[in-house]
Amino acid sequence: MNPLPLIAVAGSPNAGKSALFNALTGARQKVGNYPGVTVERHSGRSTSADGRPIELVDLPGAYSLDPASPDEAVTRDVLLGQQKGERQPDALLIVVDASNLDNHLRFALQLIELGLPTIVALNMVDLAKRDGLELDPVRLEQELGVPVISTVAVRRRGTAELQAALDDMLSSPRCGVHKHVKSDLLNLQRRAREIAATAVISETPTRRWTHRLDAVLLHPVLGPVILAALMFVMFQAVFAWSQTPVGWIEDGVSWVSGVASSALPAGFLRSLVVDGAIAGVGAVITFLPQILILFFFILLLEGTGYMVRAAFLMDKLMHGTGLSGRAFIPLLSSFACAVPGIMATRTIDDPKDRLTTILVAPLMTCSARLPVYTLIIAAFIPNTNVGLGIGLQGLVMFGLYVLGIAGALLAALTLRKGVLKGGSGGFMMELPKYQWPSLKDVVIGLLTRIEIFLKRAGTIILGTTVVLWALASIPPAGPGQKQSEVSIAGHIANGIEVVVKPIGFNHDIALALLPAMAAREVAVSAIATVYSLDASGDPDQLDKSLADKLRHRWPLPTALAFLAWFVFAPQCISTIAVTRRETNGWKWPLFMVSYLFILAYAAAGLTYWTAVALGL
């Protein structure tokens, strides 16, 4: 069988390439990896106007075929048919920003020279119009010698015309690929400017929207204030908006475990299913709403173009700690999960800048810490109002985030003064136009996140929870014995306990630390498993929420020390694995794990001793 025609979607960064890819493929997307490199491969199915199936691949944004980053190298190699794991595309769909033709046509001209059947999508014509710029696609078509279609990808406008053009392109016979002639970039740039000038029908000088917004959002005083306010709203929202859906999920989980309990005979199997699988996974998916809300904000910040402005505002401060404003985006993404955050560091050109960012990324409070924080805060911090409608619980949460950030900045500073000395660190970024992202693009982004999170919950977390359940249930406790102490896990934890006792950790925490290496949120399900097993003889206990149980078992200094531990501890196998991949060896991941464990131990210790001294 012949493979489907492969069409590569290529273009400069900020041309709206991914939105166009989403518009054409919808939810029929696959995210993979190019072999040997750490660049994501986004592909998807679509149909041309007459319904024939085609495969689209969304290439990383590039300014030219002379790569300045691993991403740009993949783009070049795919286009030249030199990329492992990818056949050479049959045709090209070049996306250019209508209001930035001077720049984007350079890459487009370079791509047209490749001689593949090509269509140019003149994207974001609405934004160009908003800025008073009227363009002539027919003139552009004559100059470029390939079909030009006007589109507004985020509004899904022009996709039907594009599909018709794809149809024409695929139907017309191909006269062999001619040899790639490489023109000088500088000449291409000048030619791009000429063509861009001839394609303009009219240009009304208007005070551009983006400029007006930037006057406020990049204002030396207002800018940072707005950024801080946005961040604060984001974290309050994670708490406030999630309460109702969390309630639904909790009800659902207890319903399922009720059904399972009555359906299964008492004994090993029921214990495995109810106390192992359902209790463990249930405790974790409860936190899906928070993660979704956080990602919703991050996708919105990215989609509107504000994320880069945040980098602009933060650059000088980040520079002061040896990082660049470019590190702000990977680090902000690390608030959701350090794994994509560390992968996003690929946009940082300076190798030492990049390595520093990778090493401190795990200190950003990722969403996997939320379950732990939420549980401990709900159990130990009173839900009172400290005035102005600000809750004490939210405030403590905010404080934990700040602690992580402060730790990261200090660590970066130390690293840049020590092992990662030297390197100036550059900061050069395009500030794209503001635009309202389409809900569909945000939803597609969120669905990808849900899938990743649930896969983790379903595989790593379920796996470790069940193993832990086995370790914690075997051998069964005799009468008068505590299950969490006689089990295999209890004995392993005894060893860990010796080490963590000085910082106020009890046996149950020691028991949770080991499985939490798989993923931090497992700490919650591990504790849940231990307590639901201990309570199995007492129906009253079973009904009480985990938070209530903790409140009766842990002294306050222990709980606070536990929080401090989780701000710093490198408790995530995935992060370590991705660091190994991104740094190409074990040296840096091992360095990262050691320094973070030392920090975590010191922070938990200091917290515990201070709290005890204060008589909490």
Binding site: Y63, N100, D102, L185, F312, S424, M428, M429, E430
Partner: protein, 88 residues
């Protein structure tokens, strides 16, 4: 031969906000190859019109500059490598 001291030109770093200027010369030696490549990719070139638009809130760094139809952010140090002739 130092392009930096051509008469009538000033460093882009010193150009006041909202003033359009024409790029007279770029001292590529002041930039490392990666930085130079990115500046070229942004369209910085002799004869191009530039206009500083915004300054970073801390230490007036970085600088947001309109180049062609694009707005880009570069550090003060990079702007120092670009000599311009003010147009107004």
């Amino acid at each position: 031969m130092n392009a930096h001291f051509q008469p009538g030109t000033i460093s882009l770093e010193r150009l006041s906000l909202g003033t359009k200027a024409c790029v007279a010369s770029i001292n590529w030696e002041m930039l490392d190859p990666g930085e130079a490549a990115r500046l070229r990719n942004f369209g910085f070139d002799e004869g191009v019109t530039v206009e500083p638009l915004h300054l970073g809130p801390f230490g007036r760094d970085p600088i947001a500059i309109r180049v062609g139809r694009m707005t880009v952010a570069i550090r003060r140090r990079h702007a120092g490598a670009i000599q311009v002739v003010p147009l107004t």
